[in-house]
Chain length 522, copies 2
């Protein structure tokens, strides 16, 4: 953990201030749909068999500090990131080598690739793709140079089911409401860098995720063109069932239904084959949806928005893969296609972020833009026989050098990371032939800060880490060498804050919450 | 119960339609704050000590049928009702006789009157009064003439804490959303009076309670004029604590805070003396409010909005009466004043609605307007030595004639009503000297209809009664002979629906819900 670069924050509260703040949060959140279905550990399912209870989504009591320059930079480069990932998804040639290598060690990737190959053989009938992306960052402060400017460094790039766009706009509204109604202690008249005057109208961050993400879906719906069958068009959200986080997804549906007047339906991922079919009388293979609640109405699906299907657990058997194949081979616009889904895998991030990697310039032709994106990478090395792999070995086998790194297994899943000085001993315990199953990543060192989180009716206070996500909405047409971007927008932000995993104590690790950025000039 | 004048309604649902409808209601309601804190019988307080859980407010699955002409008439006469009750509250002379008689049998009324007299003696310092009223109606169909047009007949007129304005707008939005997203079975192509085509855009009723009631409070805030002390002005909501129905009240606060930029605070009725005081350095007696969460901030209260203080249980001891007295003698604008509060007592309604009563014309000078208001009265008789009282005796002691009546004790509280043919026997069991403690009211006979109510996660279906409430917002200045109306608006509607108390079974009586009107031409 880097030392704090921030002033003391958040302000201390008296008992009366604390009680008033909590009451205000509890009521505002429910009145505005900033909610989740309660966890089974909080409300056992047998106490609420109909599932009608809800509770405040886990939120921070205060907006968390975030360096203004870092926030601005992350927002500013989102369109370049959209273009980068659209270009990667467009470049099957380039993806192929990486994915096939990855497929050897990862069944999930292998199966996705197999679906793509099958559809490719048959011939894709839809050349439009929609990406609702989210690029996630931590603020990094160089431990060896604490006076250097903090920077945003990318944690990961999400190309499927980028969540929390619905709740993140609302938590920003909540924090602004709390500020405007004097729920935060007032600014003292002497305002020389003290904590309590940090909150003001220009440090609170406006957000527009709900309208922006919905507009992305609506744009794809429009670009789909007229119905190929005689049926009305619709958008479907593929969802998990049950879904506790439904109040994050619903605002996008309501905006599509009410503002854009587009019929929009939720379809459980497990019900794809039950409720959709391909109309084989049309060579373009339109996807038809028949609502179970209205079997006489048939819709033609313009856009399939995946809010499920990203995890192996969504595919309990071959039927699920048949379902994914049905969607992929249809001419519905996928958000995302399988190629776009694959472009979001950790391995792609590693390939791009390997020092001296030539790949970024393949996709971003403007060197200045490529350089700006590159600045957000932390170094990620393979541990193999390449030049970069040999460089990684030199670091990972030296206790001193390995101190700023984390060793991660290549496969998705996490939880088995090896940190810092423990890396050399761990590597030595493995046969060298297994080393290529790992990547070595430079640690991002976020500055220390505190906040408090309301979750399940309990408030936990302590050291926290806030991960900034910037959404992007991008619609492109497949091109020979590069995609044609029809829409390319930065689509708002998320601050997801959790307790810091550390020996210093504080908020229990893993207790995540939605948060908003309080910008600070540091 | 009158026979139904309506076509078969609501439409039958398949299992899939029912499930989809319930899921849509459960999610839409929480996403839009159409919520309540759960009853202790549903969620025991020890399961949620912090009180963070919420659930869908009790709602009907479908909007209930309501005759269009009745709806239009009730809306059209609301301004006249506002004027009527403002005029009654303005006419202390007239009120005095009625209230003093009532005070003999009702301690609560007596205590309210005593507070008024004390302030009158000291001298009122505020000549503005705000009324946020609600006039409640049932549809009446004359049993002896089933082909006569249905009419609205008034159940009661509320002058204090008229509730459900926040939720009623949202339930109308819910029903419109359900219609627009095809959650109700679609209209069949043959549309000759079948039930399912009753729901359409022109039969669903737009509503605007939240903005209208908030505007009434904001108008009073503005008319209060500049702060008399050096403090910022604010509005306070006097509330019960705890309050399960907080999501009905909060939307008004949020609109005042966000749209009107007026500081607005909730003050438990029991905390008035703790958190407010009168600034005695000003002869006008401004009311000051010091928020417990911000003791260094002092506000001058422009408007006190009572959402508590209407029931005897809010006054457990003399301190509560001292508190009411403090508010009444301050120069804050009261919503309502004690005179306005008293104007809403059942006895006033009876005096106005007694056959051949001369009182209505005292307050409504235009005979056409007075006649229109009069049409909404059902006959209400005292059982005393007046002419009307003798008429009442003749009805109440005759089994045949008493069949269209209900006998109610004069005192507030209810639950001891005697119906129809049981009235003569009951009266004969009482000494005649006690008869004047009762009133005889012509029964309102609403037409039969069915609906289903979602409450605590359970759906109950059966015969229902829907009570229409029309809100009014009225601000007036006390005048010598009549008040000067500064604002006079019809402020939206409520349909509150409950199971019919009847031997026919159906939805359990008393299980109320919020509903919206589906207008029908009958």
């Amino acid at each position: 953990m880097a030392a704090s670069i921030y002033p003391k924050y958040p302000p201390d509260l008296t008992k009366a201030q604390f009680d008033h703040l909590i009451t205000s949060i509890k009521d505002y959140s429910i009145a505005h749909g900033l909610a989740v279905r309660p966890q089974p550990s909080f409300v056992p399912p047998e106490s609420d068999p109909a599932g009608v209870l809800a509770t405040t989504a886990p939120v921070t009591l205060f907006p968390s500090l975030f360096p203004r320059a870092c926030f601005d930079e992350a927002k500013a480069i989102q369109k370049a990131y959209n273009e980068l990932y659209a270009s990667i998804a467009n470049d099957e040639e380039w993806l192929k080598d990486i994915v096939e290598e990855l497929a050897e060690v990862d069944d999930f990737i292998a199966k996705l690739w197999k679906v793509h190959l099958a559809v490719k053989e048959e011939g894709y009938t839809q050349d439009l793709s929609l990406g609702l992306f989210r690029s996630d960052y931590l603020v990094h402060v160089e431990p060896s140079n604490p006076s250097a400017k903090p920077e945003v460094k990318q944690v990961e790039f999400n190309t499927i089911a980028s969540s929390f766009g619905g709740l993140s706009e609302k938590v920003g509204d909540l924090h602004r409401y709390l500020y405007n109604t004097s729920c935060y202690p007032p600014t003292p008249s002497s305002s020389s860098g003290t904590a309590s005057n940090l909150i003001n109208t220009s440090s609170l961050t406006p957000n527009h995720t709900i309208s922006s993400l919905s507009s992305g879906l609506a744009a794809a719906h429009d670009h789909y063109g007229p119905s190929k069958t005689s049926n009305q068009k619709c958008i479907i959200f593929l969802v998990q069932d049950p879904e506790r986080n439904v109040f994050d997804q619903r605002p996008l549906e309501y905006t599509l239904q009410v503002t854009h007047s587009i019929p929009t339906f939720r379809v459980p991922f497990s019900s794809i084959l039950l409720n959709t079919s391909i109309d084989n009388t049309h060579s373009s293979r339109p996807l038809l949806y028949t609502p179970p609640h209205s079997p006489e109405s048939v819709y033609e699906v313009s856009v399939v928005y995946f809010r499920a299907g990203y995890a192996l657990s969504d595919y309990p058997d071959e039927t699920a893969w048949t379902a994914r194949h049905q969607v992929e081979r249809s001419c519905a616009i996928k958000c995302p296609t399988i190629l776009t889904h694959l472009a979001g895998s950790k391995k792609i991030q590693q390939v791009l972020a390997t020092p001296s990697s030539p790949h970024l310039s393949r996709f971003l032709k403007d060197p200045a833009v490529a350089d700006r994106v590159h600045q957000t990478f932390t170094n990620i090395y393979p541990i193999d026989d390449t030049n970069a792999g040999r460089e990684a070995r030199a670091i990972a086998t030296d206790e001193g050098k390995s101190n700023g790194y984390v060793l991660k297994p290549q496969r998705e899943g996490g939880g088995n990371n090896i940190y810092r000085a423990a890396i050399p001993k761990f590597l030595k315990s493995l046969p060298e032939s297994h080393w290529k199953g790992y990547i070595l990543m430079e640690l991002i060192e976020p500055p220390a800060q505190e906040n408090a989180i309301l979750r399940n009716g309990e408030v936990q206070r302590g050291q926290i880490i806030g991960e900034l996500g910037i959404y992007g909405a991008c619609l492109w047409r497949k091109g020979e060498n590069s995609p044609t971007l029809l829409e390319n927008e930065e689509a708002g932000q998320l601050l997801r804050t959790k307790g810091r995993e550390s020996e210093e104590g504080g908020v229990a690790a893993g207790f995540g919450s939605v948060d908003s950025c309080l910008l600070i000039d540091v």
